[in-house]
Every structure is written in C-alpha cells, then in structure tokens.
C-alpha cells in the first residue's frame, strides 16, 4: 500500500459522500422545479388551504399535513413505551436463553413489507377496530377524540398499524444503546443501593441521546409510510381530531392520485405535496438532532 493508494481511497470515498449531497440537492431542486405551477398559483396559501378539488383546480395541503403529523405522533406515543419496554426486557430482564429468539422475532416485524401490513390491516385490524369503536361507552364517544360514526377505517387504525411498524426499529436501536452502557454504570448504581428498576433507569439516562435518536428514527418511518396507511386510513381529506374519522396523509395522496393526474396543475400540486413532505422530514430530523445535542450536555 502506497501513499498514492491512500489518496485515491480518500478521493473515492469523498466522491461517494459527495454523491449523497448531490442527490439531496438534486431532489430538492427537481421537486421545486416540477411544482412551479402550483407554487406560483397558491404560494404559501397551499400550506393552509383545506380544499382538494381536482375538477375546479383548487388545491390545499393542510388536511394532508395534519394527517401525516397526527398519525405519526400518535404512532410514536403508542410505539415508544412498547419499544422501550421490549428493549429493556430483552437486554436486562429476560433469561439469557430467550434473548436471541425475542430479538430475532422483533426484527422479523421490520422485514415484513408495508403492503402486507396494509392487507392484514384491511382484513383483520379494521373489523377489530370497528368492534372496539362500537363497544366504546357512549359517554366517551361524546368527546371530540372519539366522535363520528364507527367505520373501522380511520386515524385510529392508521396509528395502530404505524405503531406496529415503528416498534421494531426503535426497539432494536434502543437495545443496542442499552447493551453499550458500560457495566461500571450499573455496578455503581447497585453499589449505591439502587433497586433493579432504578439501575435500569440509570442505564437509560446514560444512553439518553441514543434512545432519543431511536425514537426519531421511528418517527421518520412513520412520516413516510405509504401503502399500509392508505389502506386503513379512509382516504378522506378532512382535518379532524377524532380517531374515528377517515383522514389522509401526504404519502397516501401522492400514491393514490399520481397516475391519474392528467392536467399540469394537478400534477404540480401533487409534486408540491412531495416537496412539503421532504421539507417536513428535514425539519423533524434537524429538531431531533438539536434535541440530542441539548440532552448530551
């Protein structure tokens, strides 16, 4: 190995890294260019408009932005405790014999294709959720969170499916983090008289930054998930806080309407939704990095 080899290796890896930057910039550029008509016509009103009328050529993205963020946040609320619980159980509490099989099963969940989740959602989850929705006592159904006819499809079902899809990612990253907490930390906690649970808490707070990163990874997946969501969310562009109401997400509307969008403005509006999703994903990632940096101090 000569110094020339070193330099060419550096150039090569530098070029590959640069390629990623070029791809992202190119993506942003193309998305903006291909949505020019829609940006010109609606401007910033696109972010807050609520009509989606392809016949009249009137488009607004608010129902989709709402649906995407709401479903992702709900999925996160459901998935994080479960994923952390699984991670803690596998890495700290379970008998050594069970660790590998449990870890393998959780990771298997991540390997299942999204469309399979969608089909399972339609045939198994939707009727089940419908029964639960009907069974909920009438006093709770008066709340805005549970209002509306019990259809089975809706925000609630989408949140459940997203949560199931997010759990394996968050739990496997959290498990790695917990495994890397040095034994010294735990031994120190026990030496100070901590119970099992307090020692675990100490370990988690040591790996806090990584755990937050794991949660954000799950959030990113939940934001972009398309096929599973479109099959169970009801595909109706309305802003609603209710878990019963059919709603719509950005990825779902693009997947559904892209092939039929025959006129230019319609197409540009859909691509602008793609651009919005891109921007929101970057914003979420930047926020998570800020959070991580803040908690690391």
């Amino acid at each position: 190995m000569t110094r020339g080899d070193d330099r060419s290796f550096r150039l090569f890896t530098g070029a590959v890294a640069g390629l990623i930057l070029v791809t992202i910039v190119g993506l942003a550029f193309e998305l903006s260019r291909q949505s020019a008509l829609s940006i010109a016509k609606f401007g910033l009103k696109f972010w807050i408009g609520t009509t989606w009328d392809p016949v009249a050529g009137n488009f607004g993205a608010l129902p989709f932005i709402w649906g995407t963020l709401y479903s992702a946040i709900l999925a996160l609320l459901l998935a994080t405790p479960i994923a952390l619980g699984i991670a803690i159980f596998i890495s700290e509490l379970s008998p050594r014999m069970l660790r590998q099989p449990l870890a393998y099963l959780t990771e298997l969940l991540a390997a299942i294709p999204s469309i399979v989740y969608g089909l399972w959602g339609i045939f198994v989850l939707v009727p089940l959720v419908r029964k639960l929705e009907i069974a909920l006592p009438a006093s709770l159904r008066k709340l805005p969170l549970f209002s509306g006819p019990p259809l089975g499809v809706g925000m609630g079902t989408a949140a459940v499916i997203l949560a199931i899809m997010v759990v394996p990612f968050t739990s496997s990253v959290a498990r790695e983090i917990l495994k890397n907490v040095p034994m010294a930390q735990r031994e120190a906690a026990y030496a100070l008289g901590a119970t099992r649970w307090e020692a675990i808490k100490a370990a988690i707070s040591y790996g806090k930054t990584g755990v937050v990163g794991a949660v954000m990874l799950g959030f990113g997946r939940a934001l972009g998930e398309t096929m599973a969501v479109t099959m169970v969310i009801g595909n109706s562009p309305h802003v609603s806080a209710s878990l019963y109401a059919p709603q719509y997400t950005m990825a779902a509307v693009i997947a559904n309407e892209f092939t039929e969008a025959a006129d230019e403005l319609y197409l540009h509006a859909l691509i602008e939704i793609g651009l919005l999703l891109f921007i929101i994903t970057i914003a979420v990632n930047m926020t998570s990095r800020l959070l991580v940096r803040r908690t690391a101090r």
Binding site: T51, W52, D53, P54, V55, A56, N58, I122, V126, P127, R130, P149, L151, G152, V153, T230, M231, G234, N235, S236, P246, Y248, A252, N256, E257, T259, E260, A261, A262, Y266
Partner: protein, 343 residues
C-alpha cells in the same frame, strides 16, 4: 479475493449477455405496450392472453394504471396504445403530437352496491337520490327519500357510509357524469371528472378497494363495476332511467343504453342517462386509443390486426365476464375507422 471478484463479474456478464442479444436482434416476438383503465382490465387481460395463443409472435403488455394515466402516457408516447373510460377532451387531443383515434371495445356498467343485511329485495334508487346520498344530504338508510322509492322495504336506522374511489378513475367519471346529469346541485358542487372533491365519505383504492370496504361495513354504499359486484356477491340496486323505469344492470340493459344513442364519427360519446325504456342509465363504453399515423408501421399493423380480432372474435368472450358486446352498427363503423390507420 481479487480473482474471485473478477470471475464472479464475468459470470454475471455471461448470464446477462445472451439474453440481451435475443430481445434486440430477434424479430420473432413483437411487443406492444399499452396502459390505462382498470374498468376493462378483466376482459383486456383475457383478450391479450387469447390473442397471444392465436398469434404467438405478438405480445401485448397492458398496465392498468387508470384512464388518466393511460391518456398521459399515450400523449408522451411511452406506450403504443392507451385505454380510457372517459373519451379524451378537445384540450387533451390538441396536446397530443398527432391525431388519436378512439375505438370503443366493450360496454360496462357501474352499479350502486350496498351492505344491508336486513333488506332482502334489491333497493331502488334514482339519480337525484344517489346524488343526495353522495352529497351527504341523505344520512340514514331510513330517510323518507329512500323509503319513498322503496315502500315496504324494512330500512334500518343505520347511518349511510358513503364509499368512493381514493384514486382517480374512469369508473368515478362514469358515476359522476350520471349524477351531474340527474342533479344540478351535484353538477355544481362536485362535477364530473376522474378525481373529484367528495363532500362526504371514505376512499377505497380501486374497484376492489371499494368492494372490500362495502362488504365489511354494514350500512355502506359504494359504486363499483358490475363484475366486481357479481363476483364478490355484493347486493346492488336498480337505478331509475330517464324513461322512469327502475332498471337493474345486466348485459341486455347495458346494450339497450348503447342502442339508444347515435354514435358520432369520432366515437367520443357518453351514454349515461340515455333515452330508452329498458336502458340502464349508468353504462359506458370504454375505449382503446392509438395514433392514426404512428411511425412504427410494424406495430401499427399488429395493433390494427388485434383490433379486428377484438371487434369480432373478442366480442364473443365479453359476456362471460359480464361486459356487454358492442352493437353491430358500432363494430361496422369501427372497421371503417381502422382503414384510416396508416400501416
């Protein structure tokens, strides 16, 4: 390590090599690519398969991506032919690089299917009633408007769950075209198109998505192509036509709808809400579209030959899949139009 890598690469190239040669130099198999509507997908699949058996050197690839997609790809010339349930508009024809011909292939029907276990007899609907349901004005099954058309039916007090298509579709166009003709309010508020702004309801993906949602949700109503209702054994209602008769969709009633309309020379016509006592009012032609003067003469001839087969032998296979065959007068006129295709 380096040697094994080189050997592996060579083996991979060898594996790809001969196959590549086959498709580029061999003129034995001619591939024709098309894309478009999902409404006639069952019959087109059967046709392309049977035609391949009869003519092994011609293979037709069809992608059911939706009517709008078919028109878009045909205009962009990424496919040789398109298929649509909605005839191309003047603006779309003008945007194309050359003149495009419309060829009606089969007739189909869109039916209002519903899920009401308590009701045994098929319900009767009028266009105005269906429009009110889809506008969200009629909310329960025991509404007086429904009871008026169905005296004696045991209508439950269930909420109506409206199901529509989530993606753009020609089936949506046929449905909205009919509702716009029978309800001025629907025409003004929603209009006709392959994707519209639905005032109410849940979106399902494809005819199968809507069928699935209707089948699973008690009290749901959805519009689907006739064959999906028959094959999935979902009840569907009779619709009142312009003459006032309540007609159930069937091959005869669909053919009656086509018979009642004069076919213009460019074959672009809507047959929803036609005259005729026995006509089913939510029927439609579906069209294959291709260029009148394509540069690829070999494919043009193959396409013309396929159309001739579809208009003669192909028509015999339609009934088994619940599509109505074309009236003979229309077939004759299309054969004349085929002469115009330069090949």
């Amino acid at each position: 390590m380096k040697r094994t890598a080189v050997l592996f690469l060579a083996a991979a190239l060898f594996a790809c090599g001969p196959k590549e040669q086959q498709t580029t130099t061999s003129s034995a198999t001619l591939t024709i690519n098309g894309a478009g509507a999902t409404f006639p997908n069952p019959i087109y699949s059967k046709w392309f398969d049977d035609y391949r058996k009869a003519h092994p050197n011609v293979q037709v690839n069809y992608q059911a991506i939706g009517s709008g997609g078919g028109i878009k790809q045909l205009t962009a010339q990424t496919v040789f032919f398109g298929a649509s349930d909605m005839p191309m508009t003047d603006a779309q024809l003008k945007a194309a690089p050359g003149p495009i011909l419309h060829f009606p292939t089969v007739l189909g029907a869109v039916v209002p299917s519903y899920n009401l276990a308590e009701v045994k007899e098929p319900l009767k609907f009028s266009g105005a009633l269906l429009a009110d349901i889809y506008l969200g004005k009629v909310k329960k099954w025991n509404d007086p408007a429904i009871a008026k058309l169905n005296p004696g039916a045991a209508l439950p007090a269930t909420d109506i769950t409206v199901v529509h298509r989530s993606e753009g579709s020609g089936t949506t166009f046929i449905w909205c075209d009919f509702l716009s003709k029978t309800s001025p309010e629907f025409k003004q508020k929603v209009g006709a198109g392959t994707a519209v702004q639905w005032p109410a309801g849940v979106g399902g993906k494809g005819n199968d998505g809507v069928s699935g949602l209707v089948k699973q949700t008690p009290g749901a109503i959805g519009y689907i192509e006739l064959i999906y209702a028959l094959q999935n054994k979902i009840s569907f209602g009779a619709v009142q036509n312009k003459a006032g008769t309540f007609v159930t969709a069937s091959l005869d009633s669909v053919t009656a709808a086509a018979a009642g309309v004069t076919m213009p020379d460019d074959f672009r016509v809507s047959i929803t809400d036609p005259d005729g006592k026995d006509a089913y009012p939510i029927s439609s032609f579906t069209w294959m579209l291709f260029y009148q003067n394509p540069t690829d003469k070999q494919r043009a001839k193959a396409m013309a030959d396929f159309m001739k087969w579809a208009l003669t032998d192909g028509q015999k296979e339609t009934q088994a899949l619940s599509y109505a065959p074309l009236p003979q007068a229309v077939v004759d006129k299309e054969m004349q139009q085929l002469q115009k295709v330069s090949s």
